[in-house]
Each structure stands twice: as C-alpha cells, then as structure tokens.
C-alpha cells in the first residue's frame, strides 16, 4: 500500500457528502444500487495524500435494477381515438432460471422406445409374416424339387429325351441342360403343360413331376451336352425286345406314348409300318412332318425297337 495515502473519499453523483471514507486498507466499497434510482450515475473517487495533495477519478455508470417496461398496443406517434387499450410488459431480473426440461435420461429413453418400436413393427409386423411365408414357400419348393431328381430323370427319359436328347443336350428340341428356362419355373411348367411350336403339350405331368424334372435338369447344369448318350447295345438282334424297349423309352416314347399308344405322334403299337422295315427306318432316319430325324439310331437298333413294339 502507498504510505502517502491519508484517506480515500467516495462520492456519488453531485453529493457533497462522501458515500464512504476509507482510511485503511483494504479500500473496499459496497454500493447498494437498489437504494439509488435506475439511470446514469457518476462515482467520484477522491484520494487525499499526506501533505494535502488530491487526485480525483470519475467513473460514469448506469444502474438498471428494473427492466424497462415494454408497451404493446400503442406505438410512437400513433394516432388514437376513443378508448385505447394497451399492455405494459415488464421483466424481472431476479426471476429464477428454469431448468432445461430435456434430460439425458429422457433423450436416451425416448430414442430407444421410438426407434425400437419401429424396428419391432418391421421385424414382427404383418408385412414380415408375408415375407417369411413367401420365402418359406420358395424354400419348400426348391427342396422338394431337389429331393426327387432321380424321379425326374426317369420322367425325362420317358417323356422328353426323344426330342431334347438323352442328356438334355438337345436334338429336335432345344438343349435343356443349363438352359436359362430352368431359372424360370413358371415359364418352364407353362411350356411343358401347354406346348409350344412343334412341342406337344404334356398335360399328364403333375406339378410335382415338373419340379422333379427341373431338379434333374438343374443337376445336369449344361454338362449333359458333352456327355455321350448311353449307347444302346449295338448289334441287337431282331428279337432283342429289352434293347428295343430301352431305345424306344429314351428316344420315341415322348411323342408316341410310353407304350406306343400314340400321343403327339401317331400310335406305333399295331402299326402296319412295323412290317415294313425299310419305310420304318427311312422315316426314323429322315423324319417326316413334325417328326425330327434320328440318324444316330442304327438299323439294328430300329429292328430291336420294332420287335419291342410288336409285343404291344
């Protein structure tokens, strides 16, 4: 502290009487602004040094304990007549601060509840059930088809191989091994049941039969074309009925019926053509009308086929 200070006098505004006289440190002044009116004020701090010298500091400040009122309904310069109603709004500096209503608990809880309910609706709601059922049906269908590929192979050999090849490699009809048609079961079934172009309808096949055939063809996956069809026993004699049956089942039954009773093609059981080997072989090798040529079947094999058909 400065030892030369004798006293410090604090004056408020133009008052001649000091507000406070400080003679020893600490020189602290407490001013109650609520005891003086709002508005501009001046504080004069006069320091009196030993020897009589003085120094004066002047500080202007503003007291604002009461917020200014705000008049709503009457503007500056506004023309009025009759009864005028307006409102005087006032604020309060001492009004308690209200707490923030959004707590962390509320935020987390509401987020979990709202987002959880949405997730639950989509996970367990009616739409989900429809999806589960649709996917289950597809899975069931695919598993059923896969389980009966062996049956499908038998059906294919009886009904389809004569046109589409023993291993579905194609012949008179297009190759089915690896065909894109297998990816479209509805289209496959429709063509098979209703026919298309030169292909006759096979309405006798059930939905399960078709699924079995598809399963069998899917298993070939295009490899059938490179595999040679199992060659029937070559050099079959005139009376080799078993060989004839095998060849007939694979190559002819699809159009002429499993027992030669006819279908898309004419009946061969009891057909007089069986007694005319040359004509029979010629038609078979060269084809006729809708019937495709089968040049790969040898004369001996055709003899076996005729022998088989004669038993019918």
């Amino acid at each position: 502290m400065n030892q030369n200070i004798e006293r410090i006098e604090v004056f408020l505004d133009e008052s001649k009487e000091p507000l406070q006289v400080l003679t020893s440190p600490p020189f602290k002044v407490k001013l109650d602004t609520q005891a003086i009116p709002d508005g501009p004020h001046t504080l004069r701090v006069v320091t009196v040094f030993k020897g009589g010298k003085t120094e004066e500091n002047v500080i202007d400040f503003e007291v604002d304990n009461l917020p200014s009122p705000y008049v709503e309904g009457l503007d500056e310069g506004q023309q009025v007549r009759g009864v005028v109603e307006f409102e005087v709004l006032t604020g309060d500096y001492n009004a308690p601060k209200s707490k923030d209503r959004l707590t962390t608990t509320l935020a987390v809880l509401s987020s979990v509840v709202i987002l959880g309910l949405i997730w639950a609706y989509f996970a367990f709601g009616p739409t989900s059930k429809a999806i589960v059922e649709a996917n289950a049906a597809v899975a069931e269908e695919s598993s059923a088809g896969a389980g009966d590929a062996a049956h499908g192979e038998k059906l294919f050999a009886e009904q389809c191989a004569s046109c589409h090849g023993a291993k579905a490699e194609g012949g008179f009809g297009p190759a089915l091994a690896g065909s894109a048609l297998l990816d479209n079961p509805e289209q496959f079934d429709k063509i098979t049941l209703e026919g298309r172009g030169n292909m006759p309808p096979f309405g006798n096949l059930s939905a399960q039969d078709l699924a079995d055939i598809r399963a069998y063809l899917s298993g070939l996956a295009g490899g059938g074309a490179s595999e040679a069809a199992p060659a029937p026993a070559a050099g079959g004699s005139e009376g080799d009925v078993a060989t004839g049956e095998s060849i007939y089942t694979q190559q002819c039954a699809g159009c002429h019926g499993p027992n030669g009773e006819g279908g898309f093609g004419p009946a061969l059981a009891g057909n007089p053509l069986l007694d005319n080997p040359n004509e029979f072989n010629k038609i078979t090798h060269e084809g006729r009308a809708s019937m495709p040529p089968y040049p790969q079947i040898t004369d001996e094999e055709l003899a076996a086929v005729r022998a088989y058909l004669k038993t019918k």
């Binding site: 917020p67 709004l89 604020g91 209200s98 987002l115 649709a134």
Partner: protein, 161 residues
C-alpha cells in the same frame, strides 16, 4: 420468460431419424419381397423421407435458436462476444461463397450456351451457397450483434420453442 430449451428440437430430429429409418426398413422389406433391390423409391418411402426432412429442418432451426439465444432470454443488454476467430471464419466462408457463386454463374452460362448440366450438380451447388450464407448470418448474429432484451410474455412467443 419464454423457454427456448431443446425439447422440441430434439424430438424433431428424433422423429426425422425415425421416419428415415422406417423408409430404410421399408426398402429392405420391398427388396426381400421382390427378390432384388428396386432401382426406384416407392411412394411410401418418398413420403417418409419427405416428412423426415420437414422434422429435420424443424429440429435444426430449434437448435440454431437455442445456440444463438440460449435457453432463456433474460432482460437486459447482451453485449456481443466479438472475436477475431469468428471474424476469420466469416471471412473464409465469404470467400467460399464468392467462389461457389462464380461456379454457379459459369454453370448457368455453360448450360445456356453449350449443353445441359446435371440437375443434381446444379442443385447441390445452389444448396451449398444457401447453407454457406446461412452459416455466415448465424455466426454474425452470434458474435457481432449486441441486443437489448426487454420482455416478452410467454404467450406471445411467435415460435413454440
């Protein structure tokens, strides 16, 4: 005093997220039913996304107001906390705004004279310009505008938060 808390903005943003989540899950279900992901949005998804955007904007407005004015307006004179950092940020954002505006003008000239420009590109550019302008105004208001708050009755507040 009127409240300026973050309850409504928070729930605005939460609802926006909820609606967008619904749109996403709806898309997942449609993909499961169709066996593949559809290229286009469904009508339902468009509706959900749109309402989500409305709630998102509502929430962002609330949080910007909360940041600018605080939780509660107190009567009195509020001096601006002007700072060099805020000034520098505004200067940078202004330079970016000028650059983006230049690109937009060049795009329009190219569009009219040469060939059509991607709608998405032009739209994004306009969006960036507006966001940049909004950011400049918000920062200016926060750091350079002093204000005197008188009073306002609770029931006379023009916005609900």
């Amino acid at each position: 005093m009127y409240k300026n808390d973050s309850v409504l903005p928070f729930f605005g943003l939460l609802l926006a997220v909820a609606l967008w989540y619904m749109a996403y899950l709806d898309g997942q279900h449609l993909a499961a039913l169709a066996g593949h992901t559809p290229e286009d949005l469904s009508v339902g998804q468009i509706g959900l996304i749109t309402f989500g955007a409305v709630f998102f904007i509502y929430g962002v407005m609330g949080y910007v107001s909360y940041w600018l004015e605080g939780e509660e307006l107190r009567p009195g004179r509020h001096e601006s906390p002007a700072s060099i950092g805020a000034g520098v940020v505004i200067a940078i954002l202004t330079i970016i705004l000028v650059a983006l505006s230049g690109v937009l003008v060049q795009t329009i000239i190219y569009w009219s004279a040469e060939a059509p420009v991607s709608y998405g590109f032009a739209g994004r550019l306009a969006g960036y310009i507006l966001l940049d302008m909004a950011a400049i105004l918000v920062i200016y208001k926060k750091y350079f505008v002093a204000e005197v708050v008188i009073t306002e009755d609770d029931h006379h507040a023009e916005v609900p938060w």
